[in-house]
């Protein structure tokens, strides 16, 4: 599915799901090959088989956009549940372990922290320190696109 199809899906499905509860399972966040961020990890935070099998491939992951560090950036962090606090901005921020660093294709438009989004990009595994933000990630989506779920 390309991005245009994805957005059409995002616009189309809620109307369907409103008509029938059984159809709401088709809403984009749960559609076709989209998985949740937590599906990348096992409980002990090792990578899941799903992640290991798709390293280097484009995948579609749903989650929430944590408030980004700055306005003009192509980087944000995807979380399993809404995280209101910018993790870079406060020393006391509680940064969950199960996150996904997103390097978007374009400068991002911020979506509020509690609106579910779907991101699609190439899955990279392994520790990487961002030279600009110094952010250390274990898993990333690069060349990513995203939209509201």
């Amino acid at each position: 599915m390309d991005r245009r199809q994805f957005i059409m899906g995002a616009l189309g499905c809620p109307a369907l799901s409103a008509a029938s509860l059984s159809l709401s399972a088709l809403t984009p966040a749960f559609a076709d090959d989209t998985v949740k961020l937590r599906d990348l990890y096992n409980k002990d935070l090792s990578f899941s088989d799903y992640a290991l099998e798709r390293e280097g491939k484009r995948v579609s992951i749903s989650g929430f956009m944590a408030p980004p560090l700055k306005a003009e950036t192509n980087f944000f962090v995807l979380t399993n549940r809404p995280l209101a606090v910018c993790p870079f901005c406060e020393t006391e921020a509680q940064w969950p372990d199960d996150i996904l660093a997103i390097y978007a294709k374009r400068v991002i438009d911020v979506i509020s922290f509690n609106t579910r989004i779907v991101t699609r990009g190439k899955l990279e595994l392994g520790t990487f320190t961002d030279p600009e933000t110094k952010f250390v990630s274990r898993v990333r989506l690069v060349d990513a696109v995203y939209d509201k779920a």
């Binding site: 799901s17 509860l21 809403t27 549940r81 509680q94």
Partner: protein
């Protein structure tokens, strides 16, 4: 004549009362016989007026009457029941009260003055721990002159041991109230102190209290508060201190046993009189549902009780289920409930390891949250899921979810405010309730719908419940002020 007739009739009714009851058509109902048995249990109940050797104070942070209700249903449904009929371990205790949680300046409290009230016997201002109400929050200098003596200090002078266990950072407000005095609850490490402030940070106070012999065991999260900025902990996370002090090493030099994961926890031995410091995460411990590589609250409680029980003079132990509160703040009811069940498991463990004759166990909360419940759900509607219609012909709910006037289903529980708000910033703070399936609502990461948009759901000022058993537990009755809890504990350990 009319009066005489009335008197005769009254006599006839009263003398036939027993006979009439024996013929009640409902007398064989289980509801009826269970309640009759409860009457006999209550009649036979005798107050325990012995001196309490041990006191265990359980608080699940943010576990008010509503949250406790949700945990009850969840635990019951996990056990295969409809839910409402389930009895949590503390709910079987013989004594209970409702507790008013307001503070001297807060209709809605936070966890600092509420824990302070339980540990000192007086209410004080929001944001402060064991500092009296004359001080303004954050006034470091004034705070130093207005500290209060804690229950831990009182009983340790009397020869008892003291333990504190939490799934939150051990320097977080509730556990801190067992050992620290601070004009600001956020002063957990020295870097948080305002410039020129002479008060010691909370982590440093814990080590001081260990050194002074007041605190014997401390288990929880919060390693980062004890380590210098340039030191990485066992899991690779950096410390927060800017004074260069490594408080873990300082504790070890006092002879303390130290644990940081499940293996080192299991390896804790009989250290004699040496204190125990266990710090299982850089910050808070994991939610129960996400927990790997660290002990449960019940396991920490058991290990602590076994260790403290070596003291023939007894002990005071405060156990906090610290993350019931955090999950409520997140609006994620599933984790509220799984941590609530872990809290109940710790209570059952403590009850099993102690004797009602000499141990006063109190189970309460510091405050409630902005949680609320919808209706009219049929029996067995999953507490984290949708509200299903009542079956007029049966017991368990129908398969039909109830709908709002917007034609959409709704969950049994929700929040008045928080991150689950249906009003979105991206939509200029407008919005509508999204459609919702049972599968989506039951997802462990689901946030219940909320009204007012807030990044973090709030506490509420609603009462919390208190359950108690053991010596002088019968002093809990009716509706009490939160600071009264200290006075019952203090009375129980000093009773003649």
């Amino acid at each position: 004549m009319k009066t005489a007739l009335a008197a005769v009739m009254a006599l006839a009714i009263s003398s036939n009362a027993v006979l009439a009851q024996s013929a009640l058509p409902q007398q064989n109902s289980k509801w009826f016989t269970d309640a009759e048995a409860k009457i006999q249990e209550m009649v036979a109940q005798q107050p325990n007026t012995k001196r309490a050797k041990n006191v265990i104070l359980f608080t699940a942070d943010g576990n008010g009457v509503g949250t406790n209700y949700a945990i009850r249903l969840f635990s019951g449904q996990q056990a295969g029941l409809l839910g409402s009929e389930y009895v949590q371990p503390q709910e079987a205790f013989p004594n209970s009260a409702l507790v008013k949680t307001y503070t001297t300046n807060g209709q809605t409290p936070d966890s600092a003055p509420t824990a302070s009230a339980m540990n000192t016997g007086v209410k004080s201002k929001n944001g402060m721990i064991n500092v009296d109400e004359s001080v303004a929050e954050g006034d470091c200098a004034a705070g130093l002159d207005h500290t209060m003596k804690t229950f831990a200090e009182i009983v340790s002078e009397a020869g008892k041991s003291v333990g504190v266990v939490s799934t939150a950072r051990i320097t977080h407000a509730t556990p801190a109230a067992v050992y620290a005095k601070t004009a600001q609850r956020d002063w957990e490490n020295n870097a948080e102190l305002p410039e020129g402030c002479q008060q010691k940070d909370i982590a440093a106070q814990l080590i001081d209290q260990m050194k002074a012999g007041v605190i014997d065991i401390a288990m929880g999260g919060g390693r980062g508060q004890f380590l210098p900025k340039d030191v990485k902990d066992e899991e690779g996370k950096g410390g927060k201190r800017t004074d260069g002090r490594n408080l873990v090493e300082e504790a070890k030099s006092l002879g303390a046993q130290y644990a940081w994961d499940e293996d080192t926890f299991k390896a804790l031995g009989d250290g004699g009189n040496a204190p125990v410091l266990a710090l299982f995460e850089s910050s808070h411990m994991k939610y129960e549902t996400d927990r790997t590589g660290e002990p449960s609250l019940a396991e920490m409680t058991a290990a602590t009780i076994k260790n403290l029980s070596k003291n023939d003079n007894g002990f005071y132990l405060m156990v906090e289920g610290g993350r019931v509160d955090h999950a409520n703040h997140d609006g994620n009811l599933f984790r509220t409930l799984t941590d609530g069940k872990a809290f109940a498991d710790a209570i059952a463990m403590a009850d099993e390891l102690t004797n009602d004759e000499d141990t006063l166990i109190i189970v309460t909360a510091d405050h409630e949250h902005a949680i609320a419940f919808n209706g009219y759900c049929g029996r067995g509607s999953p507490i984290t899921g949708l509200c299903y219609d009542v079956d007029g012909a049966g017991v368990k709910h129908l398969d039909k979810p109830l709908l709002g006037d917007d034609g959409k289903p709704f969950t049994v529980a929700g929040f008045l405010n928080g991150a689950g708000s249906v009003l979105k910033k991206d939509d200029n703070w407008t919005g509508s309730r999204p459609d919702l399936t049972q599968e989506q609502a039951m997802d462990p990461d689901y946030l219940q719908q909320a009204l007012i948009p807030m990044s973090s759901e709030t506490h509420s000022g609603e009462d919390v419940a208190l359950f108690a058993k053991g010596p002088w537990a019968h002093l809990f009755n009716g509706v009490v002020e939160q600071n009264y809890i200290f006075h019952v504990m203090n009375y129980a350990v000093n009773a003649k």
